[in-house]
Structure formats: C-alpha cells, structure tokens
C-alpha cells in the first residue's frame, strides 16, 4: 500500500508538489506567526512584570503590632516566592563625612526567604560573616562609600560598620537607597519581645496567586491595629496582565487555527481537482477489484506521505528563517504539535475527496462513449 501510494504520488507530480507546498506553507506560516506572536507576548508580559505584578507590600507603624512572628507564619504558605521583613529605619550618614547625605538603616529580619536574605543577597566581594550593615550600590553612592566599605554614624550616635554589596531586586526597588542590618531573631514565642516589622514585602509565585496570598495575609494581620497598617497589592496589575496574556493567547490561537483551516481547505480543493481529473483511474481501480476502503486508504496514505514531506520541508525552512532573523525558535513540543496538527489537517482535508473517489462508478468511468 505504501509503495502504491508513493508511486501514485510520484505519478501525479503537479498535484503532489502543490500538496507538499500547501502543507509546508502551513507549517511555515504557523511557526513564523507563532514565533513572532510569542516574542511579542513575551515582551509585553515582561514589560508588565517589570511593573511588579507579584508583590504585596505592607507598611506599618512600629506600634501597629506586626512582629517577626509573621515571617514564620508566612513561610509555611504555598504560593509565596519570597518574604522580606524590615524593622523601623534609623537615619545614618558616613562617619567620615559629617555633613553627608543621611540614608535610613533598616533591620533585616532573618532568616527570611527572598533575595534580600543577608546570606544570599550579598555580592561576591562580601565577607563570609555578615557585616554589621550592608548597603546597596545606590545607598553607597549617596553615603559616599568609595572603597566599598566604611563606617556610618546613626542619628542616635551609634557607629555601624558597613560594606557595599547588597543586590536589591526589582520588587524592593521602592526601598532604595537601602542599607540593612541583618538581625538574627532569637525569639522564643513571646509576642511582647518579638521585634516589630514596619515593612513587609511578600512576593507571590505568580500574578495569579496575588489575590489568594493577599487574603491570607489580611487574615494574619487581623490582630494588628488596622489604622496603622497600609497594604498595597498589585492585584489590579496582575488582572491586567492576565487579560493581556489571555488576549494575546487567543489572538495566537485564532491566527494558527485560521492558517490551519485555510491550508486544509486548499489541500481539499487540490485533491478534489485531482480526484475529478483522475476519476477514470479510480473507476478502473474499482473495476479491477479495489474496495472503497482500499481507495480511501490509498488516497489518505498518499496524502500522508506528501504531508510528512511538506511538514519536514516547512519546519526546516521555518527554523532556518527564525534563526536567520534572530527570532525565538518555538520549543520542540510546539513544533511537534504543529507537525502532527498539520498532518491531521491534511488527512482530514483529504477525506472528502477520498470518499468521492471511492464512490466512482467503474462502469460509468470505463465505458467508451
């Protein structure tokens, strides 16, 4: 059957080349369109994500009643990627520059999850043991710390050693210029002794988790003085992100479906023309003993061979084009899905012409007028 289908395909050069070209064109159009759509989608989403769609920020007075206890409570919650808890700020300036710019120093409570964890967020030049305070590059610039380290003098007159190397993630950028003093809380459960938290930043694992985490956080904060707490979420931004992402996905799917449908229609028209032109051939086959099922199988096998050839050509052309133009190459699973879908679309498109061919009346086609 495979040999006969292959031989039939070879004997009908124009129709075969047209089918291969349509299927190849289908793959090229889908892959190039989807790659461009995916790239545009990634860029748009990246822009939205840059606006910080996953964070929940709680600002509170020191007397609001939020303590480091909340860190332990949040660490068991699913859907949270990072927790940063800071204590009340104290202004400090470079001890070597009496009139220098003051920058707030904040206690950083640990061990906390997140990029500001003193054991993970310090730069490669930082000492193995955490220093008294760590400054971000921006804070170091404001403080005039030119050597990457130095001493600070707080407004209370306390001297604090400082090193530069704190990497501040985007979701904590609003705290810049940032200088933190890592504090290991030796708290035994006595709420009265637990240090107060004045800034709590919770980063959800995804924008979709923001609403759930916010509800949970509100529950945990229920015992605190609500008049001294201000909670900001990015829920609206997350909702916008979901809508934009959904719209782009729908557009991408619609485009791909449109291409598949158009290509399937072209394949079907091409095969209908072929079947019409070769009706005598199918009539002869029927007269010589080919069953209807065999005729259908033969035509579908023929189209299958051409579709596989077209898919191979289309993917090769697409990957070369995408690489040459610097576009994103879709993942293997997507390419495999497009290939299978293209072959199925071609086979489905071939089915009506195959059924028509199988119903050719042998006598009508063979009798000489």
């Amino acid at each position: 059957m495979l040999r006969e289908a292959y031989a039939s395909a070879r004997s009908q050069v124009v129709a075969s080349l047209l089918t291969v070209a349509v299927v190849a064109g289908m793959c090229v159009a889908v892959l190039l369109t989807s790659a461009r759509t995916a790239a545009a989608q990634q860029a748009v989403i990246a822009h939205i994500d840059a606006l910080d769609t996953r964070s929940i920020v709680v600002r509170a007075d020191a007397s609001a009643g939020i303590s480091t206890e909340i860190i332990d409570q949040l660490q068991t919650v699913r859907g949270i990627a990072a927790i940063t808890a800071l204590g009340p700020p104290t202004d400090a300036h470079n001890a070597g520059i009496p009139d220098g710019t003051a920058v707030p120093i904040r206690p950083l409570y640990g061990a906390v999850t997140g990029l500001t964890d003193p054991h993970s967020s310090v730069g490669p030049g930082a000492p193995a043991r955490p220093p008294t305070a760590i400054a971000s590059p921006l804070a170091a610039l404001n403080l005039g710390l030119v050597d990457g380290q130095g001493g600070l003098l707080t407004e209370d007159g306390e001297g604090v050693a400082v090193t530069v190397g704190l990497r501040v993630p985007a979701y904590l950028a609003f705290l810049e210029p940032l200088v933190v003093r890592p504090v290991t809380v030796d708290w035994t459960g006595d709420t009265l002794d637990a240090p107060p938290v004045t800034v709590l930043v919770v980063l959800a694992t995804s924008p979709a988790e923001v609403a759930v985490v916010t509800r949970l956080l509100n529950g945990l904060l229920a015992g605190a003085d609500q008049s001294k707490i201000h909670l900001e979420t990015s829920a609206q931004l997350a909702a916008v992100r979901a809508v934009v992402n959904g719209e782009l996905n729908t557009y991408g799917r619609g485009t791909i479906l449109g291409i598949l449908a158009t290509s399937a229609a072209l394949t079907s028209i091409n095969l209908l023309a072929l079947v019409t032109m070769r009706r005598r051939d199918f009539g002869r086959r029927r007269a010589l003993g080919a069953t209807r099922m065999l005729i259908v199988t033969l035509l579908l096998t023929q189209v299958g061979i051409l579709a596989v050839t077209g898919v191979a050509a289309g993917i090769t052309i697409s990957v070369i084009t995408l690489n040459a133009t610097g576009n994103i190459t879709p993942p293997f699973t997507f390419i495999a899905a497009v290939s299978i879908t293209a072959i199925i679309a071609a086979l489905l498109a071939a089915l009506p012409p195959a059924l028509i061919a199988a119903r050719r009346d042998p006598l009508h086609e063979l009798r000489v007028p």
Binding site: M1, R3, E4, A7, S11, Q12, R280, D281, R284, R285, R286, A287, L288, G289, A290, T291, R292, M293, L294, P362, L363, L366, R367, V368
Partner: protein, 217 residues
C-alpha cells in the same frame, strides 16, 4: 458445491434496464461452464457489454442472480463483490484502460494489491506473461509510448495475472491485426483450458464462431 456439474458462472432470471419498463436484458438464463470460451454477440446496443459488466459484478441487475460456482454473488456487499472481482475475475476492457501515468509493468501488477498477492510474485508472473505476448521490451514504458495493439496485449496480461477463474473480455481483438488477434484468442483459449471460463463480447463473426459457446443478445 464445487463440482463439474455446477457451471463456474451462471445467470439466472437476469433482468436489467437503463430505462424503466424497457429492459435491455430480460429474464436471461445462461451458464458458463469451466474450460469454455463463450462469445456474446448481437448488434450494438443489445446489451453485450452490459451483460459482461453484470457478470463481472460491476453493475447490479434489476432482478435475478449471478451465480459463481453455484452461489449467488450479485447480492454480496460492495466490498464482497470487489474482493471477488480481485481474486477470481480478470477483465479486458474495450480500450485496455491502462493508467497512463504508470509503467506497463506497474499496470499489470496493480491488481496484486487488490487481491493481497505478493508484489514480488506478481512481477515474476507479469514478466512471464509479457514474454508470452511478445511485449517484454515494453515493461518499463508508459502506455502513451506503446501502440493500441500492444496496449490490448498488456491489458490481457493484467487480466490473466494470478490465473483468474473467470475472464471477461470486451472486444479484445477490436484494435488488433489478425496475427495479434489470433495470439490473444489462443491465449484466452489456453487459459480456459486450465479450468477457467472465458466470456468474450464481440462483433467479429470469425471470433464468435471459433468459441465453444455462443450467446446471442
């Protein structure tokens, strides 16, 4: 059921009409025994080819039966009739009906696919038949590159491949010179001698008179 007394192919009470109330074949009873060459004769339009196609299970009679080895076969399903055609019937059409896009050899072995015969075996048999009909040098040619007489001999090779029990031939010598026509007739006669039945629709009185049996329509 298979015995010498039962004709290999028979028509019983066969009736067929293209136009209502004007049957072209009406209550036909005829038997086609083994080892027999039968001529179907009659003027044009009397239903020779129609009867041939009804006997070949390509056309369904309005009523009556086609019996193969004593069993009614015209009532089989479409696929059942197609399989019977592929395995036990050979056809020589009026104009050879070869596929112009395939080689002569491909045309001959095409039916192997329909009867589930190995292609290798079919090719071996096809080469023997091509040699027998003196067209072995045309095996790789396309039908457009051979003469009408050669095409008819190729059609005969296709019909005789795998030794069918029934051979139906529609004007098989119509396009042939006398010598080739004689070659074809003797090949059909030889085939009938193997236990098959051969039915020829013809206008040629010489051919008809040389047949074992004569059915006039």
């Amino acid at each position: 059921m298979t015995s010498a007394a039962v004709p290999l192919l028979a028509a019983s009470g066969l009736k067929f009409s293209y136009v209502v109330d004007n049957p072209i074949i009406d209550n036909l009873h005829v038997e086609f025994p083994r080892e027999t060459v039968t001529a179907l004769t009659g003027r044009s339009g009397t239903g020779k080819s129609t009867l041939l196609y009804i006997l070949g299970l390509m056309l369904r009679a309005s009523s009556g039966y086609v019996l193969y080895d004593g069993t009614p076969v015209n009532t089989l399903s479409d696929s059942g009739r197609a399989r019977l055609r592929a395995r036990h019937f050979g056809f020589v059409f009026q104009d050879a009906a070869l596929d112009p896009t395939r080689t002569v050899l491909d045309n001959i072995v095409e039916t192997a696919l329909y009867r589930g015969q190995s292609r290798k075996d079919a090719i071996t048999q096809a080469h023997a038949l091509l040699e027998r009909f003196d067209v072995q040098l045309r095996a790789s040619h396309k039908p457009g590159q051979i003469s009408g007489g050669q095409a008819q001999r190729i059609a005969l090779c296709r019909a005789l491949l795998a030794g069918p029990a029934v051979v139906l031939a529609d004007e098989p010598t119509g396009n042939l010179d006398p010598a080739t026509a004689q070659l074809v007739v003797s090949a059909l006669r030889s085939h009938a001698a193997t236990g098959a039945t051969v039915i020829i629709a013809t206008h040629d009185p010489n051919l008809a008179s040389s047949c074992d049996q004569h059915v006039s329509l």
